[in-house]
């Protein structure tokens, strides 16, 4: 058993090494179960946030707790979200404290 495991590991590692050393086109073809998604590098974040955080826009004292609990997610990707969320889109209208 141990010998078999070692042998199969060696075989797989050897094959993997060969595959990885060949141009990427070959990988893409042989690896249909894997999909590569290149991400967009995140912009650097400072410890100090400028922008919206530095405005004096709203000084509301309203309690968001009660508002939030009546909120129902609204999807910008309606096609995705609608499958699971079925109630109360209209309630979003009552919530006017955007970026307060």
């Amino acid at each position: 058993m141990h010998k078999n495991t070692a042998a199969s590991l060696a075989l797989a590692l050897g094959a993997a090494f060969t595959i990885a050393a060949t141009p990427t086109a070959a990988i893409a073809a042989s690896n249909s179960s894997q999909e590569k998604c290149y991400g967009v590098a995140l912009k650097g974040k400072n410890d100090c946030q400028a922008g919206a955080g530095t405005t004096c826009a709203g000084t509301s004292k309203s309690d968001y707790q009660s508002n939030a609990w009546s909120l129902v997610p609204k999807g910008t990707c309606i096609k995705t979200v609608s499958k699971t969320s079925s109630t109360g889109y209209g309630r979003l209208k009552a919530f006017k404290t955007k970026k307060s």
């Binding site: 141990h2 495991t5 070692a6 042998a7 590991l9 060696a10 797989a12 590692l13 050897g14 094959a15 993997a16 090494f17 595959i19 990988i27 042989s30 690896n31 179960s33 894997q34 999909e35 590569k36 998604c37 290149y38 991400g39 590098a41 995140l42 974040k45 400072n46 410890d47 100090c48 946030q49 922008g51 919206a52 955080g53 530095t54 405005t55 004096c56 000084t59 509301s60 004292k61 968001y64 508002n67 939030a68 609990w69 909120l71 129902v72 997610p73 609204k74 999807g75 990707c77 096609k79 995705t80 979200v81 499958k83 699971t84 969320s85 109630t87 979003l92 919530f95 955007k98 307060s100």
Partner: protein, 250 residues
């Protein structure tokens, strides 16, 4: 004074701390309210920077209302804002209004793993001959412990997290994504760009076991139980993405 100031900062229902004065004899309560608002809004903005897809999925209003509650409940413990909101996915998971978007927490987990990969230490290159030497010492192969680059993370989800995330990068069409298909993700940063790669169940449990410190042989044996496990595939991917930093006995 400090504790009172801190609590009043997070809770608009509380009175401003006693003893505040203003240079122009304006109302200290009004000035404090401005400061409080700036603190909360800047932290919500920080969360929005870290979780753009999470925000896109529920819309800005919902996201900001949810983030506001989180900020009050878990204010930063560190001066470093980059990792602020590490527990936001767990908060989302137990936040009843978000329950109608069941994959939201896992999307947030994916986004936090990307932030962590972004800030992780750079990859240590595996010397080219290490793999060849490992193959040569065939008897030792099952005992090998594989270490990964600091940026490597995996996420196993009952939802199509990779496809949903990719749809928001313009990589796939959102209308073709079924959110209820389980997906696993490998997140890493080989050079300067973060990669998000979908893994089979077998591949993700293989990596998870190796991350736990299991030997190559033990991880292989356990992962082989998954019908979709292909050892050559996953090793090829790990080598190609330079995910491995060392292969040693012990």
């Amino acid at each position: 004074m400090n504790a009172q100031f801190f609590e009043a900062l997070l809770d608009p229902g509380l009175l401003p701390p006693a003893g505040l004065t203003t240079w122009n004899s304006s109302d200290p309560a009004a000035r404090f309210a401005v400061y409080r608002n700036n603190v909360i809004v800047s932290l919500i903005d920080a969360l929005a920077d870290t979780y753009p897809v999470t925000q896109a999925l529920v819309g800005e209003e919902f996201f900001r209302a949810m983030a506001r509650l989180f900020v009050r409940q878990e204010p930063p413990r560190s001066r470093v804002l980059a990792f602020y909101g590490e527990s936001f996915p767990a908060f989302i998971e137990t936040f009843p209004p978000a329950a109608s978007v069941p994959y939201l927490a896992d999307i947030a987990r994916l986004e936090m793993l990307r932030v962590q990969a972004y800030h992780a230490a750079d990859a240590i290159e595996l010397p080219a001959d290490v793999i060849a030497q490992s193959i040569a010492r065939i008897d030792e192969l099952p005992e090998l412990r594989i270490k990964f680059q600091p940026s490597v993370g995996i996420l196993c989800s009952p939802y199509a997290v990779v496809s949903l995330w990719a749809a928001h990068q313009g990589i796939t069409d959102i209308s073709t994504v079924d959110p209820d298909v389980p997906e696993n993700a490998l997140i890493l940063r080989p050079q300067l760009d973060i990669e998000v790669i979908r893994l089979t169940n077998g591949a993700s449990s293989f990596i998870a076991l190796l991350l736990q410190g299991k030997s190559l042989g033990a991880a292989h044996e356990a992962a082989s139980l998954a019908a979709d496990f292909d050892l050559t595939d996953i090793l090829g991917l790990l080598i190609q993405t330079q995910a491995i930093s060392s292969m040693k006995i012990h």
